[in-house]
């Protein structure tokens, strides 16, 4: 009975196995990035980036028609440009990251809309770019697995400077030049994960599985390594459970996964061991020292 409900769908259907593989790869790559995004107060960057990639995709479309590879590549370039430029501006001027990013993504979006209307078509380009987790073909699976690997490798390299950069940026500036490159490498990782995530799985899943698990992790750990572990685990678990929900009901897969994740989030907000609401209301007896 449990087997039928929980395991059988994956044994029986290949698309379910692929979807599970896809969602696990996405969790491995996206969730750690999400934790850093949250800690740097950049959680809305995902949505901004979804719009920022438009001119890149538009140029790709202009040059090669509805060629997914060209459009994704164009989107990557546009995303990099926006992320890097806004990062540079934030570091060298008074403007903070959120305003800098907002400015650049809006410029990018306006450019994109202009390019598209000059061409004279009203195809919803962004819609074309966004994929579906139930449609994991070999190429897409490879891309997100590659993503996850690169992300983990680069994160391992920039981990220390990234952490110090978040906690005490002035200190890092006085002892090392690694701050700026680490930050820019991080932004590049964000763009890669987002663009490839959009392409493979759609905006909802790509952004959702980045940000929500980070929020969940916040309530269960006081240590960044612990947070990353919990974020990855909750993303993967949401993927597994969400796919099952979508399998047994009529809920589409992307929303199902995100809804499960959101459910975990609500549970964490209420019962989390770190500043969960119930803990705050009923703290229990205080300790001796």
């Amino acid at each position: 009975m449990i087997y039928d409900a929980l395991i059988a769908p994956f044994i029986e259907f290949e698309f379910m196995r692929r979807a599970l593989a896809g969602v696990i790869a996405l969790s491995l790559g996206g969730a750690p990035i999400g934790v850093f995004l949250m800690l740097r107060r950049m959680s809305l960057v995902g949505d901004a980036m979804a719009h920022a990639i438009l001119p890149g995709a538009a140029v790709g479309f202009l040059l090669s028609g509805l060629n997914l590879f060209a459009m994704t590549f164009g989107g990557l370039i546009a995303g990099f440009a926006v992320a890097l430029l806004s990062g540079l501006v934030a570091r060298s001027t008074e403007l903070k990251e959120d305003a800098s990013l907002a400015a650049f993504y809006l410029v990018s979006l306006a450019l994109g809309v202009t390019i598209v209307s000059v061409k004279g078509t009203n195809i919803d380009l962004l819609h074309v770019l966004f994929g579906n987790i139930l449609a994991m073909d070999d190429q897409t699976l490879l891309v997100i697995a590659f993503n996850a690997t690169i992300t983990l490798l680069v994160l391992a390299v920039i981990y220390r400077p990234l952490v110090i950069e978040c906690v005490d940026p002035v200190f890092l500036r006085t002892v090392s030049r690694a701050g700026a490159p680490a930050h820019l490498a991080f932004l590049a990782l964000v763009v890669i994960n987002l663009v490839n995530g959009f392409h493979a799985l759609g905006t909802l899943l790509a952004v959702g599985l980045m940000i929500l698990p980070a929020g969940i992790a916040r309530f269960w750990s006081r240590d960044i390594t612990g947070m990353i572990a919990i974020a990855v685990a909750s993303a993967a678990l949401s993927g597994f459970a969400g796919l099952l929900v979508s399998f047994h009901t009529k809920v589409p897969s992307g929303p199902a996964i995100i809804l499960v994740c959101a459910g975990l989030y609500v549970v964490s907000v209420l019962f989390g061991s770190v500043s969960g609401l119930v803990r705050q209301l009923f703290p229990g007896r205080h300790l001796e020292a």
Partner: protein, 251 residues
């Protein structure tokens, strides 16, 4: 003794307004210098220039053969994100950066040194606490522990004893004394004149322009202090370019 830091007609400031105006002089190696002056006198600005965060508008700050990255700096208002989930141990461990770089593992030796540093500032047992749970005094001790670990030849402290209790001050001053006996060069910006008179042999009285610089008793005279107090704190929006401008060079 040789000069560790030299200032040649240094002007530092923001948006062309000088916060430190035409400072010249030397800090000898192994000196223990207090930098005092009213609010807005340019003490923090001067330190930022020394450490390399701020480029001079004019003049040269010479560090000799010292790499600015090997100066330990304790800033005034820490831009530290206290909500970040990092433990005291890991935060302090960053002090080993110059030695270990991005990848260097923290071996037994390093672990021992971190614990030692924490003990030296009286924070033994705090290793696993998240930094957000520390009080002001404990934060300051933690920052001192990190400076300890940096093991730097030149140490620059910006108002390190602001808003901490007497016991902590006393403990930390003892550390500063220790650095002095280890022949490290220490500069500290301070407000507490008693502390300065009791512990610092050399003082620079700054009120944007240097008012006096030398042995502490000679500098902290009533008339010098009065002169310093007359310094205008605000930038003058209608100011004209300074006549004594010399081309700047970065530290």
């Amino acid at each position: 003794m040789s000069a560790q830091l030299t200032f040649r007609d240094v002007t530092l400031g923001y948006d062309r307004h000088p916060a430190v105006h035409h400072l010249s002089g030397e800090v000898a190696a192994g000196a223990l210098v207090a930098v005092v002056g009213p609010n807005g006198a340019g003490k923090s600005t001067l330190f930022r220039g020394i450490v390399g965060i701020l480029k001079p508008l004019a003049g040269v700050i010479g560090l000799g053969s010292l790499n600015p990255r090997d100066i330990a700096y304790l800033p005034q208002t820490a831009d530290i994100d206290r909500s970040f989930p990092i433990s005291v141990y890991d935060f302090v461990g960053a002090g080993l950066w110059r030695r270990k770089g991005i990848f260097g593992g923290l071996g037994k030796d390093e672990q021992h040194r971190i614990r030692e540093a924490l003990a030296a500032v009286g924070l033994s047992g705090f290793e696993n606490r998240p930094i957000g749970t520390l009080s002001g005094g404990q934060m300051q001790r933690m920052l001192f522990a990190r400076v300890l670990l940096q093991d730097a030849r030149v140490i620059v402290l910006d108002e390190p004893f602001n808003a901490i209790d007497a016991k902590t001050s006393a403990d930390l001053i003892a550390l500063v004394q220790r650095w002095h006996t280890e022949k490290r060069t220490v500069l500290a910006a301070l407000h507490d004149m008693e502390l300065v008179r009791a512990n610092f042999p050399e003082t620079l009285l700054l009120a944007r322009s240097p008012v006096a610089w030398g042995a502490t008793p000679d500098v902290l005279t009533a008339e010098n202090l009065l002169a310093a107090r007359h310094m205008c704190e605000a930038f003058d929006d209608a100011a004209v370019p300074c006549a004594e401008h010399a081309p700047s060079q970065a530290a």
